[in-house]
Symmetry: C2
Subunit: 363 residues, 2 copies
C-alpha cells in the first residue's frame, strides 16, 4: 500500500520538500560565499487586507527581507532556522508539539528566545514562508473542540494508522486532537454540519436528536474554535461538500467567534484555508432577542466598546453582520444560546432550528 | 433484562424516591393544616469543616430551618420546590440540563429568580437536602474533560442504552459528558489512572505511549476538573480499584486543581464522593523546579497572595502539600508541566514519569 494514500502523508511530503529547499538555498548561499537571506510577507497591520472576493483576511504584496548581511537580522534569522529544523524533526519522527512545548525545547537547546511570544512569532513566520499552517508541521493547539456524527474516519498517526472509528459511537463527542485532525474521511452519511459554541447546547442538540433529524455532524468548539477545528470544518465543507451552520451567543464575543470561523482573523491572515467563507452564521442573532422575547442581559461597557470595534471591521460590512450589529444598538442587550430554554429545553431544536434553517435556505 | 441492571438506574430510582418523599411530606403537612418546613445543613463558612479522617471538606452539624410560617422564607421555599419539580421531570423524561439552562427554564415558567446565582444556590440546597450531587438529578457541567484508555463502557442514556464503546479507540480522547458520566464500566485492562491538567501534556503522554507502558487510563481535565469528571475518577478508583496520579503545573492554580480533586472544595462540602482522597499528586512539584532545573517564571503578586491563602487552608497542612508550598517561598518561581520539554519532548514520559512513580511507590 502506497505511503501516499493519505492526505496527511502528502502534506508531510510537501512541507518536508519546502523545508529542505529552504535549507538547501541557505547552504548553497553559504558555500558560494554569499550572505543568506529570506524574503517573507510583511505581517504588519497595513499589509493585512480584507479580500472581499475570497471573503477573508489575506496579506498584501508587501515583503520584508531578512538578510544575514545585517547584523541585527542575524538573531531572528537563526531563530527562524531553528524553528524550521525543529519542524523537520517533528515531521520526520511523526511527533507533535504545541507553541509552548516548542518554546521549552528551544530553551533546552540553548536557543535565545526572550519569552514564548518570541518563539510563537517565529513559528508564524515559518508558516508564512512555507505557506502552510503550523498544524501541517505538527504544531497543534492546546485546546480541544469535539465532534459527533455519522462519519467514519481513518487515522494516519503512528500506532493508529489504518484504524477506523465511527464518530457516531460516542454522543458526548470525540475530542479533536492531532489524531482526528490528520485523519481521512472514509464514509459520511451526514448532510450538514452544526458548529456550536457551547457545551450545554451541544448536549441539547444530541439529546433532542438534531443529529438524526437533520443528518447533522455536531461540533462543539468550546468558545473560540481552535485552529485545527476550523481546518477540520473547512475539510468537511471542501471534501464532503457539507453546508456549515454556526451557532453562537448573541453577544460581541459570540459574533466574533462566528466571524473568525467564517472570515478568518487578522492574526491568521498569512494562512489560507483554516476559515470557511461559505459557512453560515445561524444565530442566536441580536434580532432574535426581540423576535423570540429571549431573556437577555444589559450590554456592559466592554461589550459596547467591542461592538464599536466590530462596526469598523471590514468583515462586518454585509448582512447579516451589519444588520445584526445595528440591532445591538436598538436592543442594548445580549442573549445566550441557552436563553431559548425559557420555552422548554427542547425548544431550540424543535422550534428555533427548523424555523432558522428554513429561513436561511429560502435566501 | 432488569431495568435495575445499571448503577445509573439505581441512582435514578433512589433520587426519585427522595424527591417523592420530600413532596409527600410537604403535601401531608398542607393537608393537616400545618406549615410545611424543611431542615437543611447550613452551608455557611463556619459550618464547613475539614474532616481529617475523611480527608475532605464536609458540613458540620449546624442546620437551618426553612419554614412557610415565616413569610420571608416563602420565596426561597417555593424556589427550592420548583427546582425539585424540575429535577423530577429531568429524571422521569431522561433529559439533562445545566445550571444555566435551569435558570432559563425557571424564567420561562415565571419563577422569580433575581439572577442565575440565585437558582444555582437553590440547586446546591437541593443537593444538600437530597444528599446527592446534581449530576444524579441530571444537571451537568457545561465544561468537558476527556478520557482515553483500555476501558470498555456501556451507555445507559436513551438512544445508546446497552451500546458499548472502547475508550482506547480514539487517542485524542472521548469527551466526558452526560453519556460517559452515567455509563457502566464493562471491562478494564488498565492498572492506573493519570489525570492531567493540560491538553498538550495529555497528547505528549499518548504520543510517548504512557498508556501502554503503564497500562494507564489518561484523563485530560482541561484546567480545573469539572465535577462529573471528578466523580468519574472516583468511580475508577472505587469500582475498579485503580490508583490515581494527578499531574498539574507547579503554580498555585495547579496545586489547587490537584487539591480540589483529592480533598474536595469548600463549595462542594455538602456533597461527598466527587473527590478522591486516595489520589496522589505526582507533580510537577515546586521542588521539581530546582531538582530538574526547569525553565520557570517569577511568581506574580496574585500568585503570592494565593499561596498565602493556601498556607492557612487545612487541606495543605500535611506533606507533600506543606513541603511544596514552603518550596514556593524558597524558589519564588513557578513552572509548567511542559517545562520538562527542555530535555526533549519525550523526557516527561521516558525519564520523569518512571522516576516519580518509583519514588511515590516507595513511600
Amino acid at each position: 500500500m502506497s505511503e501516499q494514500k493519505y492526505r496527511a502523508d502528502q502534506i508531510k511530503t510537501e512541507v518536508l520538500q519546502k523545508l529542505r529547499s529552504l535549507g538547501r538555498r541557505i547552504v548553497s548561499d553559504l558555500e558560494r560565499g554569499r550572505f543568506p537571506y529570506l524574503e517573507l510577507p510583511a505581517r504588519t497591520t497595513t499589509n493585512i487586507v480584507y479580500d472581499a472576493k475570497l471573503r477573508q483576511y489575506v496579506l498584501g504584496g508587501k515583503k520584508v527581507e531578512r538578510t544575514t548581511k545585517n547584523i541585527r537580522h542575524l538573531r531572528p534569522f537563526a531563530q527562524l532556522l531553528w524553528i524550521g529544523t525543529f519542524a523537520k524533526k517533528l515531521l520526520e519522527n511523526s511527533k507533535t508539539s504545541t507553541l509552548r512545548d516548542t518554546y521549552y525545547v528551544a530553551i533546552g537547546e540553548g536557543i535565545d528566545f526572550e519569552d514564548q511570544s518570541e518563539s510563537d512569532e517565529m513559528i508564524m513566520q515559518l508558516e508564512s514562508i512555507l505557506d502552510s499552517p503550523r498544524e501541517d508541521f505538527h504544531i497543534f493547539p492546546e485546546e480541544r473542540a469535539s465532534i459527533y456524527g455519522d462519519l467514519i474516519i481513518e487515522y494516519t498517526v503512528p500506532g493508529f494508522r489504518g484504524k477506523r472509528v465511527d464518530l457516531s459511537a460516542h454522543p458526548d463527542g470525540f475530542a479533536i486532537g492531532p489524531a482526528l485532525t490528520t485523519a481521512e474521511f472514509v464514509r459520511c452519511n451526514a448532510e450538514v454540519v452544526f458548529v456550536i459554541e457551547k457545551g450545554a447546547v451541544f448536549s441539547r442538540f444530541v439529546e433532542e436528536g438534531a443529529d438524526k433529524k437533520y443528518k447533522a455532524i455536531l461540533i462543539h468548539t468550546a468558545g473560540q474554535s481552535p485552529r485545527n477545528c476550523r481546518k477540520l470544518i473547512r475539510r468537511l465543507h471542501d471534501e464532503l461538500n457539507l453546508p456549515i451552520y454556526v451557532f453562537t451567543d448573541a453577544d460581541p464575543y459570540g459574533v466574533h467567534i462566528a466571524s473568525v470561523l467564517i472570515h478568518g482573523s487578522a492574526l491568521s491572515a498569512h494562512i489560507k484555508e483554516i476559515n470557511v467563507p461559505d459557512a453560515i452564521w445561524a444565530g442566536v442573532w441580536p434580532s432574535d432577542i426581540r423576535r423570540y422575547k429571549l431573556p437577555s442581559m444589559k450590554l456592559t461597557d466592554r461589550d459596547i466598546k467591542r461592538i464599536q470595534e466590530l462596526e469598523v471591521d471590514p468583515r462586518y460590512q454585509t448582512d447579516p453582520w451589519k444588520r445584526e450589529i445595528k440591532e445591538f444598538w436598538k436592543v442594548k442587550r445580549k442573549a445566550e444560546l441557552e436563553a431559548f430554554s425559557r420555552y422548554g429545553l427542547d425548544f431550540i431544536v424543535k422550534e428555533f432550528l427548523p424555523e432558522r434553517l428554513a429561513e436561511l435556505q429560502k435566501r
